[in-house]
Symmetry: C2
Subunit: 641 residues, 2 copies
């Protein structure tokens, strides 16, 4: 039996109000004089109007913003839950609401397929005690060492290159015939990387590096435990010489351009290394193995390979399986004898970062039909499972990494990572990493900005900012205005920022973002069609790339970046390029697997596919020219309309 | 019926004389007023008093100074042949006599065992035409190259290191997909050493280097034909930092000593390389493979390996099988990617030069029991045949290379290479390389100086110059006198030389030479005794080392350097260290053979053998304390006495 009026008590303010069943909790709160922030204007988009039911019941919508556990604990969104009886509710402090929202977001980022490979680093440490040489046993130092290694470890092939051989005699005698060897054994033969007199203690360090076109991210791993000591990231200094791959390649063709670009990326790595070394108290020279994952061009530039043919039809890299070099050969300031392994590429535009991604995501052994996406400076796509893998690349551009955007920045403290625009007032609410005044916008911030501008009508489906309309509804200063780069929307006024200027998003920025999202969607569409696969057959969508770590699926679907599939199919894996490199660092099986993956993947050349440009043009709208491809967005618009 | 007096006609002077049968031709000539030079005073030692019988007969002694062909042509030594009937004789001009003497000496140096290994250099050149890449055939440059190499040459393993990989894309395109590869294939895997666009012409060059403690000798070989372009040699610049191995090692232990020594030997090699390049019109960078043979210490210093334990009991090298390095790693100015292979050593004092010597001498497949001697700065000895090989080293010192001698020098123009002392006048006659005023004495000159001084009584069996005795018999200025370094004998007066001073041999020099010859003889004696072998069982004596190229067996036996075996058992092979290195350059089978030799050879440590010092002390006399060990010398002394 339904009650006519329910008693709703809001804690801790202890205000009570009567409301009929079906009343939105948000409305009841307003009537009780309790203020609950609704950055999105109560549209259920932002997930910030959290309240917790202490007693009683409310009807609630299935909500992606809350984990199952949070729902069991009584958390609801005030803008979507409705009164169904007497209620006692707590309106938590902002800090507590943020904690719950972040927890919820984090839960949506978990890796979906656990596929650990055995912990078995290719770099190993061995301690040996050798018998002293005598006139009766005058074996050379190297023979003596090999003999002991064969006896103790069963290793009968040891390669010692000149620099370590030059140190062998002194080291053995200094350690009184006790010696610690750091051996690299990716396959049958052991290579001596370093040696120390006596028994060495301390960590055994490896470095995993993701060389992105825009960002370089790395992590130092203790190979005794497999645990990370810490990570660091920075803009790839090559950005100074061009923001995308093509402009880098063009730069490399001028005079000493290639050498300069190689120097810029090693400078970036060396600076980060120094930063990590200071933070975690090790010497850069103690790092004895390095695994690199990067796109094909980045790997070419890192190794000093001539990249020009990559940008010219028929797009041919020098090689897709890179020779293992020594750190000293490429100017990385770890142990100069340390092996540097670059993950193999598949083609000119599907690089070792994607091989690493397929490795880290475990797509290569998934039963389910999986779509893997890596949205970095380029967008690469893999569709497949343990039976087959097909991949393609769409030159998406670095827009979602913030490059080329007036206020773009990396996802570091000071970056706006989420934007909500109030449906009525059109005023934005910002979420800034590190909870401080904003300095710019990172990728996830750009996506929500776009979706919020679109859903609130600040911008039309073609990406045009509806200037007059916004001005008329925003009080005080107008948020929409004519700026240097066409119409722009102000996200933060100069005095609210650490930037010293208004932080805006302009139509030029919006066009870049549209082109990027259209290229990615078109790539997915062409790849699926080529394989005869319908979107709804896709059982899981794994999203890699540092960028993917923080994006909001709902917003990404709303702008037509991702296909309109049920949210539970999406999983954010974070930086899979780095994760794959770390796997190779800590498991030699992972390396063999990565090479197998690179060999197995079939590459689809989109440029050779004349449907790609048509698909992309159709996807330049929000969410798409054909709104029927995005039924959930269509429904939302209709409901709102 | 014997004639009472025979008629002897000397041409071209047309002088006739009568002489009874049995008269020495030399005496008959003197009576006829025909002057025949007898540098040794008519003792049959120097082989210079050549005359040619046109008609008639003479009794002659079996003579090692003449080849069989020369004897058939009628050549005799005037000091040993006796009248046996009427004779018509030609006394040739000095020039003609020298030609015959040199021809005779050369015939005694021929290699005794021809054992050519198949011509099959590890460095090969391959020309390939690759199909152009297309969107349908987008294989990477490296894969395309590998594919073509497998198809055309059946080579399925190609290693391309970073520096060449960096050039691959440009080279292929510059040559319009025609490419010339210089490949190094010592075993199953091919390594790319260099590559060129299109079809490359010109030579394919390899460098063989003998790094001696005192001298560096090298030869550039065209690996298309196996022919040498030319050779060059120079003092090892390390001589500045110590003349023998031990003093070099001691120097290497001080500060940057090792680095400096490594630099000095590469400087020596680089200078010679430049000299060869200029003389034979090639660029040093065109040389694409290098094979080095040197004693263990020289190889250690060349590679920068720490040599200290080589000089300390139990005498342990870092390694006896050296890693193949790239020229760029060791600072040799050939193609920096060129492989540098060092022949393997057997022990601390039996190095790659001896492995090369056993290879070049074919001892390793000889049926006959063979004694191989390499007399360089050290003396190394191998005794064996195809069934077994045992080796030892005696630290002989560089005396026979001229090092440490007041007037020692290498066997180059200006060096006294032969000395004859007149039995009566005690005046020396010199043979100088290049027929010019002398500048010093080389090894073969030192040996004949010693034997002549001993046989003529200028010096006694203990090596003491009999000053008074000599003074009394030398007119004008005394040849024997008290000098800065004890008693000395003057070989040439300042005004006859290019040295600006009297060229002498002092008792200090003589003592050095005695120690050296004693060490070598003692080594041979201990080695033979250890193996239970009597000297007369030795079927051939092969003498290597640049030094061995010019020495006179007779003199070497007379001073007790070589055992007293029939002369025909001795064969001079010249620089077998260099010859072995050349073999490895032109035949990959030779390399495998060299490694087999190094593994097979048994090393006898003389320092661990307490009989060695006794043997050496006994051998410090001329020819030996026990004259019965040298029956031919004993007979000569008795005859003279």
């Amino acid at each position: 039996m339904e009650k006519e009026a329910c008693r709703i008590l809001f804690l801790p303010e202890n205000r009570e109000v009567l409301a009929p069943p079906g009343t939105l909790i948000l409305d009841a709160a307003t009537r009780a004089g309790v203020i609950i922030d609704t950055p999105c204007g109560g549209q259920g988009r932002c997930g910030r109007c959290l309240v917790r039911i202490q007693e009683g019941e409310a009807t609630r919508r299935e909500n992606p913003h809350l984990t199952q556990k949070q729902q069991q604990e009584g958390w609801v969104l005030a803008c979507t839950a409705r009164v169904a009886g007497d209620l006692v509710l707590t309106v938590p402090l902002l800090k507590e609401r943020e904690r719950v929202a972040v927890e919820s977001a984090a839960s949506r980022r978990a890796a979906p397929v656990p596929c650990p490979l055995p912990f078995y680093p290719a770099l190993r440490q061995v301690f040996l005690e050798l018998p002293h040489p005598t006139l009766e046993d005058p074996a050379t130092d190297l023979d003596r060492l090999r003999r002991a290694l064969a006896q103790k470890e069963g290793l009968d092939r040891l390669r010692v290159e000149l620099p370590n051989l030059q140190r062998l005699a002194r080291t053995l005698r200094e350690g009184k015939w006790q010696v610690t060897l750091d051996l690299y054994l990716p396959d049958g033969e052991a290579r001596l990387v370093d040696l120390f007199p006596g028994k060495k203690k301390g960590p055994l360090l490896g470095l995993a590096v993701d060389i992105g076109t825009t960002n370089v991210v790395m992590e130092v791993v203790d190979l005794r435990s497999g645990r990370s000591l810490g990570g660091a990231s920075a803009r790839n200094r090559q950005v100074l010489r061009g923001e995308d791959i093509i402009s880098r390649i063009v730069y490399s063709e001028k005079g000493e351009g290639l050498k300069e670009l190689q120097g810029l990326v090693t400078d970036t790595i060396n600076s980060l290394l120094l930063e990590l070394a200071r933070a975690h108290s090790f010497e850069p020279g103690e790092v004895e193995v390095m695994v690199v994952a990067g796109n094909t061009t980045m790997t070419h530039l890192f190794l000093g390979l001539y990249p020009k043919p990559i940008r010219e039809e028929p797009y041919i890299p020098t090689t897709s399986f890179f020779p293992e070099v020594r750190a000293g050969e490429v100017g990385v300031n770890i142990n100069p004898q340390a092996p540097v392994y670059a993950l193999p590429a598949v083609a000119a535009y599907v690089g070792g970062d994607i091989t690493a991604g397929v490795l880290a995501s475990c797509l290569y052994r998934a039963d389910r039909l999986t779509l893997f996406l890596d949205v970095g400076t380029n967008g690469e796509i893999v569709l497949g499972n343990k039976e087959f893998m097909t991949t393609c690349a769409c030159s998406a551009g670095p827009a979602f990494e913030g490059a080329g955007m007036r206020w773009g920045m990396r996802a570091i403290p000071g970056a706006i990572e989420e934007v909500r625009i109030h449906s009525t007032t059109l005023q934005p609410t910002l979420r800034v990493i590190g909870d401080r005044p904003p300095q710019g916008i990172c990728g996830s911030g750009l996506i929500t900005t776009l979706s919020e501008m679109f859903l609130t009508g600040v911008m039309d489906r073609a990406g045009k900012v509806a200037g007059d309309f916004v001005v008329s509804r925003t009080r005080e200063r107008p948020r929409a205005r004519w700026g240097e780069h066409g119409t722009e929307y102000v996200l933060a006024w100069a005095e609210e920022t650490d930037a010293g200027e208004d932080i805006v998003i302009s139509e030029v920025d919006i066009n870049s973002l549209l082109r990027t999202k259209a290229a990615i969607y078109a790539g997915i569409a062409v790849l699926a069609r080529t394989l005869g696969i319908e979107f709804n057959q896709i059982e899981q969508v794994l999203i890699g790339g540092a960028f993917g770590q923080h994006i909001n699926v709902e917003s990404a679907i709303q702008i037509g970046l991702l296909p309109d599939l049920p949210w539970e199919k999406f999983h954010f894996l974070g930086n899979t390029s780095l994760a794959g490199a770390i796997q190779v660092l800590i498991s030699k099986y992972a390396r063999a697997q990565a090479e197998e993956i690179a060999r197995r993947m079939t590459y689809l050349e989109l440029i050779a596919d004349n449907t790609f440009m048509n698909e992309m043009t159709a996807a330049l709208f929000l969410p798409h020219t054909d709104i029927n491809l995005f039924p959930s967005v269509k429904a939302q618009l209709e409901k709102k309309g």
